[in-house]
Amino acid sequence: MRKVDPVPPSLGYTLVELLCCVASRLLEDNRSVFVGTGMPMIASMLAQRTSAPKMLIIFEAGGVGPQVPVLPISVGDSRTYHRAVAASSMHDVMSAAQAGYIDYGFLGAAAMDVYGDINTTVIGDWAKPKARLPGSGGANDIGSFCWRTMYIMRGQSKRTFMNKLDFVTTPGYLGGPGKREEAGLPAGGGPYRVITQLGVYGFDEATKRLVLLSLHPGVTVDEVQANSEFEILVPSDVSVTSPPTADERRILREIDPTGLVLGK
């Protein structure tokens, strides 16, 4: 339904396909993942059909362990508990996350700072917003509770990788090591990977600041830095992302046959 970003035709795949494939390869078999709407859903479904068939997928409205047949439109859609092991409740799955059962949280994001804090609430002043966005939904919960949170952002730019967010909806590292625990969040969680249209990022162990891990094909370090207000740490050994395979692209089309997320 959304307009799909322009992609150099020479690459033979779309940006959304690339993001979904990269994201799916980060998911591990025999682990649990709390999945948000859109690209995180497709990526999780792709992982379940390829590298991680026994991965436990959980949706915030109560779908537990589904074999998702086609892309759900909502995280509460009946597809989110198709052939599931349980159709339970938000209290059940949010409690499971708070109690430590969920390894990965997987979300989209509108804007992020260097510590992986996320804004999905307002642009401008909260009381008199320039633009009102939907708010936390389950994002604050997922970002608070999951051991490792991953984000997909297709529009990295100086307006979305920001020095100071207009509003911190969902916690990343909140300014550095130990800050999450000081704020009363469960110890040992936090953002783990960020996937944008330019590359894949992690977080520096010592400072909890964003660090570049790999560049997508054809992207340079300069471009990564030019599309961020804050400085991105660049280690000496940055790899290049593997492009989507023909198999992955075929499966993606089976997952989203009408192009809801992938586009036509």
């Binding site: 938000m90 209290h91 939907p134 936390s136 939904g137 000081e182």
Partner: protein, 342 residues
Amino acid sequence: MTKSMEILREGNGELLGWHDPDENRAWVREHKPRGLIDKRMSVAQAVGNFVRDGDYIAFGGFGHIRIPMSLVYEIIRQGRRDLAIAGKTAVHDIDLLIGAGCVSRVECAYAFGHELRGLSPSGRRAVESGQVKVVAELSNAGYQWRFLAGMMGVPFIAVRNLGGTDTFEKSSAKQVRDPWSGKPVTLLPAAYPDVALFHVPRCDKYGNAQIDGILVEDFELARAARRVIVTAEQIIDEEQTRRDPRQTAIPFYVVDAVCEVPFGAHPTQMPYLYYFDEPHIRGWLEQSKTEAGAKEYFDKYVFGVKDFNEYLEKVGGAKLFERLKQIEQLQPLSSDDVEGRE
């Protein structure tokens, strides 16, 4: 003076729907009948009896799933004003109520957006112009647990989300030191909405309601709210309730009104029965881009029909619901079903 707990931090969001637990117990004792009473009535009567101007209301279901739309339309038809809505992931319901001018305040976990379908023109316009005020922020689990505390009859519940964020700063939560671990812990105040409204597949005349698929937070919300209206695809016999009591998600003693409304979730999804009516939802999103367009929508689908049956005929009748049933039961989607019929 009694010694009180040291508050480390507190959000400055407006506290909606809270009552002293003893006051609420007394209210429940006085107002919630424990006898088996036939509570069947029309949608117009249910809204007329139990939804008042200025109420803090919450809808069951989730986003576009299992939303009691006949009640949403009836609230608009009866011209309720100044409602405060629980944005507990409230999407289509809140969007229409805002578009029709029924809402003045929102406590927002998720609203003003339609997930994959994009942002909500009507909801955003109202907030950005100041017509509707977001009085507090929260998260989905935060709402869930405010209702859990309400259901339990305790004043608050201790949780471990929200800390460190502006979502906390704009919420009605507080942080204290956990007397056992010594760590900061977030306390969410109980929420007792004035009215909670649900659509379920089956309910008996007393209000014993069954839900298929995920419960979302209906279990807790129904038990926390002061007044509960249930619309059902089908009214079932008491015998059917008693044959398999494990099916009862909402028990009769929390329910005030029961209305039989087949297809009462349209255009939202009713699990196992019918899928989202995507073209209809897209039509609303398109029309609500302007206030005039939203008004046309309400003139056609709310004020221009005498009841929900006439509405169902207008949106496509039996033929439409046959198709939506096929889609719900996983016959392949065509792009026509997603993008629009025209």
